[in-house]
C-alpha cells in the first residue's frame, strides 16, 4: 500500500510537488524564525553576561549597549580618560574595562582595550601571545578564519566601523597579528583586539604611556618625542579618550547607587545591559511573533492544499479504490493508502522546509553583512525543529483524514455501477 501511495503521488507529480513546496516554504519560514530568535536571544544574553553596567557618552542607552557589547551600532561618542580612574576608585566597582572603537579591517571591528577584556568572555589564546606593544593585535577565531590571517600577518586598518564606510586607511600605522583566540561562541570571535594606546596612535592622538591603566605614571618618565606629539595633538584638539567602559560591580550596592550617580552627576550615561537587552528582545519578540503567526498561517494553507488535493483525488479515484476493494484490499488498507499519501507529502514538505530554512539562513548571512555581524550559526539544529516537523505531520494526517474516511465509506456496488 505504501508503494501504491507513492505511485499515486508520482502519477500527479506537479500537484504533489506544489503541495510539498507550499508546506516547505512555511516550514522554512518557521525554521528561520526559530533559529534567528533563539540564537539571537542566546547570543544577546551570553555576550552581556558578566557585564553589569556600560558607561559611555550620553545618547541612546540601547545604542551604547549595541555598540559596546555587541559591536553592532555606532557608538554614542567618547568619554574622558579620567572617567576610567574615577570609576576604578569607586569601592562598589570590581572591574572597569575601557574600550576604544573607531576602526575596522575588512568589516571586522578593531577594538582597543586591555587584556582583561578577554576575561569577560573567558577567551583563551589558541596561538601566539596577548597584545601589548604598539600595533600588536589578537584576532578572534572567526575573524582569523575568515580573513585567512596567521601570526605575523600585517594589515592596515580603515577608519569607520564597517567595511562600507570607506573613510580612509591608516597606512602609516600597520597592525601586526601576534595572537589568535580559541572560539568562544561570543562576539569576541569576530573582533580584532589591540591596546587602547595603539588605537590612539593610529589616530594621531598623543598620550602618555599606558594612560588608561592603573599605574603610577611618574615611575615611567616621559619620552621627549611623546611630549612633542602630545603638544601637537592637543593643539589639534585631539585628547586621549575612550569610547565606553564595561563595569563589573563588587557588590549589589553598586547597582543601586552607580547608574543614577553617573547619569545625574556626570556628562556620561550609564546603561544596564540586562535592562536594555530585555527591551531589545521584547521589541524583537513582537516582530518575531507576528512573522511566526504568518508562517503558521502559511502552514495551514499548505495543509488545506493537501486536503483539497486528496479530497479531489479521492473523488476522482473512487472507482480505482473500489476496484482495489474488489481485488481484496481491506477497508483499512485503502484508508491507509490515502493517509500515507497525506503523511508522506507533509513529511517531505517538512524535511525539505527544514533544509531550505537552514540553507536560506546560510545564504542570507553570506549576502548581508548585518546578518553576519549577529553571528548566527545557520547549520545548527534546534530541538524546536522536531516540534515543527511533528506539527506539520499532524497537519498532513488531519488533511488526509476526511478524504480517507470518505474512501472508507465507499458503496462498492453503487460505485462500480457508476464506473461501469
Amino acid at each position: 500500500m505504501l508503494k501504491l501511495a507513492f505511485a499515486y503521488m508520482n502519477d500527479r507529480r506537479l500537484v504533489t510537488g506544489l503541495n510539498i513546496l507550499l508546506l516547505a516554504l512555511a516550514v522554512a519560514t518557521l525554521v528561520i524564525l526559530l533559529l534567528a530568535s533563539t540564537q539571537l536571544a542566546d547570543r544577546i544574553q551570553r555576550n552581556a553576561e558578566g557585564i553589569d553596567l556600560v558607561v559611555g557618552a550620553k545618547g541612546s542607552p540601547l545604542q551604547l549597549i549595541l555598540s559596546s557589547i555587541y559591536h553592532m551600532d555606532q557608538p554614542t561618542g567618547n568619554v574622558p580618560l579620567e572617567s576610567v580612574q574615577m570609576l576604578r576608585r569607586d569601592p562598589a566597582v570590581r572591574q572597569v574595562v575601557p574600550l576604544a572603537l573607531g576602526d575596522n579591517f575588512r568589516g571586522y571591528r578593531i577594538v582597543g582595550s586591555e587584556p582583561a577584556y578577554l576575561g569577560l568572555y573567558n577567551a583563551e589564546l589558541a596561538e601566539g601571545k596577548i597584545f601589548g606593544g604598539q600595533g600588536e593585535v589578537v584576532l578572534g577565531a572567526d575573524a582569523a578564519r575568515n580573513l585567512g590571517a596567521g601570526l605575523g600577518q600585517k594589515f592596515i586598518g580603515s577608519h569607520g566601523l564597517s567595511d562600507s564606510e570607506g573613510a580612509g586607511e591608516h597606512d602609516s600605522h600597520p597592525f601586526e597579528t601576534v595572537g589568535i583566540l580559541k572560539p568562544t561562541g561570543t562576539v569576541i570571535d569576530r573582533l580584532i583586539l589591540t591596546s587602547i594606546e595603539s588605537v590612539w596612535d593610529v589616530h594621531g592622538i598623543a598620550h602618555e604611556e599606558e594612560d588608561a591603566h592603573d599605574h603610577d605614571h611618574d615611575a615611567h618618565g616621559h619620552h621627549p618625542d611623546h611630549e612633542t606629539e602630545a603638544a601637537a595633538s592637543r593643539h589639534a584638539g585631539l585628547f586621549p579618550e575612550v569610547t565606553a567602559l564595561l563595569v563589573r560591580y563588587r557588590s549589589a550596592a553598586g547597582a543601586v547607587r552607580l547608574p543614577s550617580m553617573i547619569n545625574r552627576q556626570t556628562d556620561m550615561q550609564a546603561a544596564v545591559p540586562a535592562v536594555e537587552t530585555a527591551r531589545l528582545l521584547n521589541l524583537l519578540g513582537v516582530g518575531i511573533d507576528g512573522a511566526r503567526l504568518f508562517a503558521w498561517l502559511l502552514a495551514a494553507v499548505g495543509g488545506l492544499s493537501i486536503f483539497v488535493t486528496l479530497l479531489n483525488a479521492a473523488s476522482a479515484r473512487e472507482a480505482d479504490l473500489a476496484l482495489l476493494r474488489v481485488m481484496g484490499a481491506s477497508r483499512a488498507r485503502v484508508f491507509g493508502t490515502v493517509m500515507v499519501e497525506g503523511l508522506v507529502t507533509a513529511g517531505i514538505g517538512g524535511l525539505v522546509g527544514i533544509a531550505l530554512g537552514h540553507a536560506t539562513l546560510a545564504g542570507a548571512m553570506g549576502s548581508f553583512a548585518a546578518l553576519g555581524e549577529i553571528g548566527l550559526q545557520p547549520w545548527q539544529m534546534h530541538p524546536g525543529e522536531l516540534v515543527i516537523l511533528a506539527v506539520v505531520l499532524l497537519i498532513g494526517l488531519l488533511a488526509a483524514l476526511i478524504p480517507a474516511i470518505r474512501v472508507f465509506r465507499i458503496d462498492l456496488a453503487a460505485t462500480l455501477a457508476k464506473a461501469g
Binding site: 505511485a7 508520482n10 473500489a322 476496484l323 481484496g328 455501477a417
Partner: protein, 218 residues
C-alpha cells in the same frame, strides 16, 4: 463434485421494484455460463450478489461450496479475494500503476505473494507482454480489456465474473477477446460467468441464462 457456483432461490428487490425472484442455477467446474438480458434485467444485480458486493433478500449463494450469503462484509471480502476474479466493462485497472504492477498487486492481495514468471506468461498469452510497463491510460481499448482479463486471472480464481467484457469492442476485437477469455480460463482451470447483452458471445459459450425471459416467466 462441488459446483463452482451454486445459486439457490435468491430474490432481490429495491423498494417495491423486484429485480430477481426465486432464481436458482449452478455452474460446475470447467463449465461457463452467459447471463443474457437487456439493460435493467438484473444482470448487474446478480453479479453483485454473486461477488458479495450486495446481499440477497432471500436465498443462498455458494462459491466452491463456501457460503457467500449469511456472512458479514469482511468474510464476503475474504471469500471474494480467495476465489473470485472480476472484470468490469470500463473499470479495468488501478490508474496509477503499470500493467505489471497492477498484476503484482492483484497477486499480492489474493495470495499474499507475487510471481513475476506467472505474470509474464499470462501477459504473453494475452499478447500484451510488450506493454507490461505501460500505464492503463497509455493502452488501446483492446489492450486495456486484455490487461483486465490478465488482472482478473492472475490470482487463478475458481470463478471469474465478467460484466459486459466485449460490448464496447468491434467484431474483430470482440472475437479476439472472447477467444482469449475462454482459452486463458481453460488454461487456468477457471469457470466463467459472463453478464452481457452481446449476442456474439453465444458462439463461444453455448450455455446461457436469459434473465429477461425468466422474469417474464415469473
Amino acid at each position: 463434485m462441488t459446483a463452482v457456483l451454486d445459486v439457490s432461490a435468491i430474490s432481490k428487490a429495491y423498494g417495491s421494484d423486484r429485480i430477481l425472484s426465486d432464481l436458482s442455477f449452478s455452474v460446475e467446474p470447467g463449465e461457463h455460463l452467459l447471463l443474457l438480458g437487456p439493460s435493467g434485467s438484473g444482470k448487474s444485480t446478480l453479479i453483485n450478489l454473486v461477488t458479495g458486493l450486495l446481499t440477497p433478500d432471500s436465498g443462498e449463494i455458494r462459491i466452491g461450496g463456501e457460503a457467500m450469503t449469511g456472512i458479514d462484509g469482511a468474510a464476503r471480502d475474504d471469500l471474494r479475494r480467495r476465489r473470485v476474479g472480476i472484470i468490469f466493462q470500463t473499470l479495468r485497472l488501478v490508474s496509477a500503476l503499470s500493467i505489471r504492477n497492477n498484476l503484482r498487486m492483484a497477486q499480492q492481495l489474493g495470495s499474499g505473494r507475487t510471481d513475476d514468471a506467472a505474470i509474464d506468461q499470462l501477459l504473453d498469452i494475452l499478447g500484451i507482454a510488450h506493454r507490461a510497463d505501460a500505464k492503463p491510460r497509455q493502452l488501446s481499448h483492446g489492450q486495456a480489456q486484455r490487461a483486465a482479463i490478465a488482472r482478473a486471472l492472475v490470482g487463478r480464481p475458481d470463478l471469474m465474473v465478467a460484466d459486459e467484457p466485449t460490448s464496447a469492442l468491434d467484431d474483430a476485437n470482440a472475437q479476439r477477446i472472447a477467444q482469449l477469455l475462454i482459452d486463458t480460463a481453460r488454461a487456468q482451470g477457471t469457470t466463467l460467468l459472463i453478464a452481457t447483452h452481446d449476442q456474439r458471445l453465444r458462439q463461444f459459450i453455448p450455455r446461457s441464462l436469459d434473465l429477461a425471459t425468466m422474469a417474464e416467466a415469473a
